[in-house]
Point group: none
Chain length 217, copies 4
């Protein structure tokens, strides 16, 4: 188990191996329960090397958070085409989000569970990423409202709350999707679009939101 012990690798590669090991360990054990010993062993290097490259446990954890946060936002950003209509953008973004979290459960655990349970150096890092996503969703809602010639009165605080709720629902569904056998990223995205876009009353009246037909990938 752990990376094959190859000697003399360039620094960048070694660092990635260490981060891989760290994300996996932090994701499964939690920040405090993860030991530098275990991470070093899993990475196939000696502990001093980990310190040489990544300075401290705190700094290593921060590096993990940053790498995983960037990977997640990038995945979502890549999944969305800003020239399409708002609901389509949301739909694509959600699919990308669910797909990425399903493929990187340890990274998702680091971001969603572990980083938030400890004080501010870490929580702040995740908050930043989250705010970026919430801002994106907020903008989507505003644009959608404009496109729909909506009455002008979704007050700002209300929109913020809506975005927050939507993101929270997504996060929760991500965990649920990973834990429920047979639940797929696409299904979860669909459920959430129905919930968010159409709302329960529409759903119950038989007017669900329907996914666009001309998908790309």
């Amino acid at each position: 188990m752990g990376a094959v012990k190859t000697k003399r690798m360039p620094r960048a590669v070694r660092e990635q191996q260490m981060l891989d090991a760290a994300v996996r360990t932090f994701g499964r054990r939690g920040y405090m329960a993860a030991s530098m010993d275990e991470i070093a062993e899993l990475a196939g290097v000696s502990k001093p090397l980990v310190y040489l490259y990544l300075n401290s446990k705190e700094s290593l954890f921060t590096a993990c958070i940053r790498r995983e946060a960037r990977a997640l936002t990038e995945a979502v950003r890549t999944g969305v085409r800003p020239d399409l209509p708002a609901d389509r953008q949301l739909w694509d973004g959600l699919q990308a989000f669910f797909a990425h979290t399903a493929e990187h459960p340890d990274g998702w655990s680091v971001l969603h569970l572990q980083a938030r349970t400890h004080g501010d150096p870490f929580a702040a890092e995740v908050r930043a990423m989250r705010e970026e996503i919430v801002a994106f969703v907020t903008e989507l809602i505003v644009v959608a409202a404009r496109e729909a010639h909506s009455d002008p009165d979704l007050p700002e605080r209300e929109v913020a709350g809506l975005a927050e709720a939507l993101v929270g629902a997504a996060e929760s569904l991500a965990a649920w999707t990973n834990a429920t056998p047979g639940a797929t990223a696409r299904q979860s995205a669909s459920t959430l679009m129905n919930f968010a876009w159409a709302g329960l009353s529409n759903l119950m009246d038989g007017r669900p939101w329907s996914p666009p037909v001309d998908e790309v990938s």
Copy 2:
């Protein structure tokens, strides 16, 4: 700071003081980072007494989880009148939920953040509570659909996903409410009802869900 150091209290009282201190400490520091020393000091007792009454860190944490879970479900149950229509029940339940989590942020942290971050003795405890709540919400959705003479069927798995999303959104909004100055339990409940019940499309068409007028308190 900490409880006033009063000597010779009956066991039941001391136990509550200890649980108070433990919930606060676990909620803020996390399970692993919290030290029994700190908890004992905050409770105003010596460490051996904590062990005498609560046996171990694990068992103490479990006791915290159980107490807080019971308090939360009780608060929600008390807020809801089962003879009222489904949307009114949901509205009342959400208000109770947001109010309780706002008043007990440490307890909420224990349940929502800390207990889930660590292995199965603890996570299972919370899962049980959460499943109870999800079941309640699921039932509400089913009843609402029936009341609305809905097209026969929201398929079962879909309903489960919706309930999951709604609960997740609520959990997320609870944190947001606590963290956002000026956000109140009532507002958050309102936002979430709009989001869940009416959906974004209705909202944007100027058809929000509107809270019932004949409130009690």
Copy 3:
């Protein structure tokens, strides 16, 4: 398990109950591993009462040693009639010894194992008892030599060593007797008499020591 919880007993009785519990616990767990909690519970009293009557763990252990030492020497003394010939006295004494240790394994463990493994307050106590027994055996050897019109030259130090060896063999056989199913006190006494009195060379020449026929009990 443990003594029946009867209230208000005279001090002497309570003390014996405590010593019983202590001997059993010390004998099985060892001095350090035995906890005052366990002893008090087994005695059916509260811990402060144990301290009130017996002052401290050390003093309690000492009391155990003394009581068991006295019981053992008394048992041996009672088994021996000083007017009989030396070999008969030894034979009777050994039988009494093996019988007593077999009937009080915890007490024997306290004396033979536990008390010796810890520093001098305790070891000294046992040493005193042991020296009494060794002196008795030494005297027996001297008397026997005189009765046999022996050459006068068993030097004193030699006799001391012989007595020591005999007592050591007996102690060792006591443990062996308790641990070996089917081994009885009488057999062990017989084996040891053969060994000590006749010696291996006599045994091998078919001249064992033979037990007296006219036993009392």
Copy 4:
């Protein structure tokens, strides 16, 4: 006091230092009363290093037992030449035994006192060594009987008891030798040979066992 504080030693050396310190501490204080702190200090290292190399108190104690048991049996084995007559082998073995135990009193305490006082991981270890020795002595008695054209049979159980008694006597004399000023290994061996081989009756008749004349050292 304690080893000179030399830094950076190879692991094998440090391990021996630790075992030395542990044997000394366990031998004098007993298993439970010995603290890892004391052992580490006596070894001239920090506690974590002891744990790094020897894993736990239990495992450290076991390592001590094994090392001392091996050293003792090796010493006896080395002292005996299997081509010599049985009584000579016994004589040589006893001398080696008394010499070794006198030179390693702490090791002997670990084996004879401490290890037996605590439960089965440890006691079993010593039992194994002891059984090896008892088997050796048993064989010696059987061979001696054959050499002496003994009446056909000392029954098997009887021989077992005799060997047990002889070994027990030796163990007991070992302690006595260490504790009695002026008692030497050679004298104790001689006393025990007389006792065991000739028996008291022969001794008292002036027919002691006499040590062989052509000794090596």
